[in-house]
């Protein structure tokens, strides 16, 4: 069949393209140009980064057409800007979810349909299983590379059309071996790390650049407003962190934690960690923008939920709400971070998920 492969220029998606080509499919490669790192390139210089060149080299070598898609403005609006907004609100966003949801599985997938492709494949580590009621999403065989948490927002319609050939491979070494076997020169290329559009790894600097109004130092205070110290910028803090508080811990005589961020007044509010965790602990968590991959019953679904990218499952009952939200009743209390995803699992299967809303317990 004619199948579009979303190619990042990395090993994973290159192997996907090569595998599909070897299986005899009509492969079309596409690489999204998401941003221009602007370090190496001067204004007006060519936009093509190393990754685009790599993806194109793989396509040329294997003999299938490859296209570079300009998604820069869409990525800026739908991912980077909302990432900055979310941070400026004191949340901890998950930009990869927004990117998969918008630029990749809406725009690029729409393009694949327009080109008459029967499916679109990516190098994500997640398994798609053909179930009785349509396609299901499952955790991959290689648990270390599980990306299911980042893909919960994939709609059922999108899932029908998508293919994830790497969901079944045992481990990354296997993928690299495949790359070598297929003669791909990028077999030894390092994995991409962290948030792709933050090359230096300092998202705080990026947020401050995009939202200069929140830039600048300010006070660290306790719940009563007593000044305990100073900080270098609110973008460097998230609720729940104990790092970057300097010698405040020793000053107060107890380990402290960020409990709130007052962005307009550029204040970081802290409290004793043990007490704060107790206060923040909740059994009830509200979610917005729910995506269900099953027909959820109004009475609720008993399942496991994962509220951070790398964390164990927690037992819960999740009930859908009118307007696209949901309410999670946890068996054991936890401290969810606003803006993060809460993903629902039944064994290896992803049932759906939503974004954690700040507020009432």
């Amino acid at each position: 069949m004619r199948i579009l492969v979303a190619m990042s220029g990395g090993v994973d998606s290159s192997v996907v393209a090569a595998l599909l080509k070897r299986q005899g499919h009509e492969v079309i490669g596409a690489t999204l140009q998401l941003y221009d790192h602007g370090q190496a390139s001067k204004p007006g210089a060519c936009c093509a980064g190393r990754d685009i060149m790599d993806a194109r080299a793989v396509a040329d070598k294997l003999g299938f057409p490859h296209y570079v898609i300009d998604a820069e403005s869409r990525f800026r609006d739908s991912v980077i800007e909302s990432f900055a907004d979310s941070y400026a609100r004191g949340e901890t966003p998950v930009p990869c979810v927004a990117c998969n949801q918008g630029v990749k599985f809406t725009d690029l997938l729409g393009m694949a349909r327009d080109l008459g492709c029967e499916a679109m494949a990516t190098g994500h580590y997640v398994r798609r299983v053909e179930g009785d009621d349509g396609a299901e999403m499952h955790r991959p065989v290689d648990a270390d590379r599980d990306q299911s948490w980042f893909l919960f927002a994939t709609t059922r319609d999108q899932l029908e059309y998508l293919r994830f050939p790497l969901g079944d491979v045992p481990d990354k070494a296997h993928v690299r071996a495949l790359a070598e076997e297929l003669g791909l020169e990028i077999a030894a290329k390092p994995d991409s790390q962290d948030i792709c559009f933050v090359p230096t790894g300092s998202y705080a600097e990026l947020v401050e650049k995009l939202r200069p109004e929140i830039q600048g130092e300010g006070e660290i205070v306790d719940e009563e407003g007593r000044v305990l110290g100073r900080h270098e910028g609110v973008a460097r803090y998230t609720v729940g962190q104990s790092k970057r508080l300097g010698d405040i811990h020793t000053g107060v005589g107890e380990r402290q934690m960020v409990t709130r961020i007052d962005v307009p007044r550029r204040r970081i509010i802290v409290g004793p960690r043990a007490q704060a965790i107790e206060a923040e602990n909740r059994r009830t968590v509200h979610l917005r923008n729910m995506n269900w991959l099953i027909d959820a019953s109004p009475e609720g679904v008993h399942c496991g939920v994962q509220i951070r990218a790398r964390e164990k499952l927690r037992d819960a009952v999740v009930r859908p709400l009118e307007g696209g939200g949901a309410v999670v009743e946890l068996t054991e209390p936890a401290t969810p971070a606003p803006g993060q995803a809460c993903v629902l699992y039944d064994g290896s299967r992803v049932l759906g998920g939503g974004f954690i809303v700040a507020g009432e317990s």
Partner: protein, 363 residues
């Protein structure tokens, strides 16, 4: 038609297929072992061919051979002109100029164009009256739309104000007659059906210029570096072939393309004003240029979208934006018929275009 790839090539403005006469000239040129700068017999032989090519190209522009400086291509010729003539005076460029001009004169004042892409010579006159003598850069024919600039009037305006006119004739040379004498002209061999690697800057006189490269003082000190003789001989042959071409035949086929596109609800940028005989800029509202390009490519048709950078990424067209298009600037493809196009190719393209439009055009 590329027999090996089974494609239909309709992207002449990116590069014309090699003309047989040019191919022969290149092969002959490669057999000349001498360096045109050498004093010995082999060098003299090479120089004789080089100067003969210079004569033929200069004559085609009604100039003496000393005005012609060979370059690596159009971009270098444009950069050379801006470097030589734009340093001590303000630079004005047309709103639809190619990046070869735009990027070589990043601080230039950009002159507006109307919805056909035409610059108004009266606007230019007024502006020059305000700022005094300038370097004015205007292309003879636009690479995306094929629209021809009103060069006669622009030349007169520049003459009256004591300004230097530089014409980027990369697309126009060989395809439309060129009669101006009071300007410098940039041309490119491969856009006329020669090989890639040679171009020329034709100047108004034989005066020295401030060279970009000095090197061994070739081209009378105006452009250092050994001349690519085979490519230059190919360019001279291609230029002459191009001028002898039956462009009416091409124009008739081009009209077939445009009629088919218009019937599909497309718009043709610049239709209604004088244009190159081979170029059509087809705007299919609501369908991205990227998708059109990919669809046609997968169907075996080589066309292009106005502005593709070297990564292959398709951006919106600054030419169409200057002509007042908004969404349309990223929904246009360029079809440019090559010298060897056949009616079969055009018929096949029209069929593919109709199918594409029927499938993708949102009602």
């Amino acid at each position: 038609m590329n027999e090996a790839l089974k494609t239909t090539y309709l992207d002449a403005n990116a590069t014309e297929p090699l003309r047989p006469a040019a191919r022969q000239a290149v092969l002959d040129g490669m057999m000349l072992s001498g360096n045109p700068s050498s004093v010995h017999a082999d060098g003299r032989e090479a120089r004789r061919f080089l100067e003969e090519a210079r004569n033929r190209i200069s004559a085609g522009f009604g100039r003496i051979s000393g005005t012609c400086v060979f370059t690596s291509g159009g971009t270098e010729a444009d950069a050379m002109a801006i470097h030589a003539f734009g340093r001590s005076r303000p630079v004005l460029i047309g709103g639809t100029e190619h990046d070869a001009i735009r990027k070589a004169a990043p601080d230039a004042e950009v002159l507006g164009v109307d919805r056909f892409g035409l610059l108004d010579p009266e606007d230019l006159r007024q502006r020059l009256h305000q700022i005094g003598p300038a370097l004015v850069c205007v292309m003879s024919a636009n690479n995306e739309t094929g629209v021809l600039s009103p060069l006669q009037d622009i030349e007169a305006v520049c003459r009256d104000s004591g300004s230097h006119l530089h014409v980027d004739a990369v697309q126009g040379a060989g395809r439309v007659p060129f009669t101006l004498s009071e300007c410098s002209v940039a041309i490119s061999g491969h856009k006329m059906g020669g090989p890639k690697g040679a171009g020329a800057l034709l100047m108004q006189n034989e005066d020295p210029i401030d060279a970009l490269t000095i090197g061994g003082g070739q081209e009378r000190g105006r452009r250092g570096g050994t001349q690519p003789l085979p490519a230059i001989l190919g360019m001279a042959a291609a230029f002459e072939e191009s001028r002898r071409q039956d462009w009416v035949r091409i124009d008739v086929l081009r009209e077939q393309v445009e009629q088919a596109a218009l019937e599909c609800g497309a718009r043709v940028a610049g239709r209604g004003v004088p244009r190159l005989p081979n170029t059509s800029c087809l705007i299919l509202d609501g369908v991205s240029a990227q998708i059109q390009l990919m669809t046609l490519d997968l169907g075996g048709f080589c066309v292009s979208a106005g502005s593709a950078c070297s990564s292959g990424k398709v951006s919106s067209s600054h030419v169409l934006t200057a002509m007042g298009e908004t969404e349309g600037a990223s929904q246009a493809i360029r079809v440019s018929l090559p010298w060897n196009v056949e009616e079969d190719h055009v018929v096949a393209f029209c069929k593919a275009y109709r199918e594409m439009a029927a499938r993708l055009k949102k009602q």
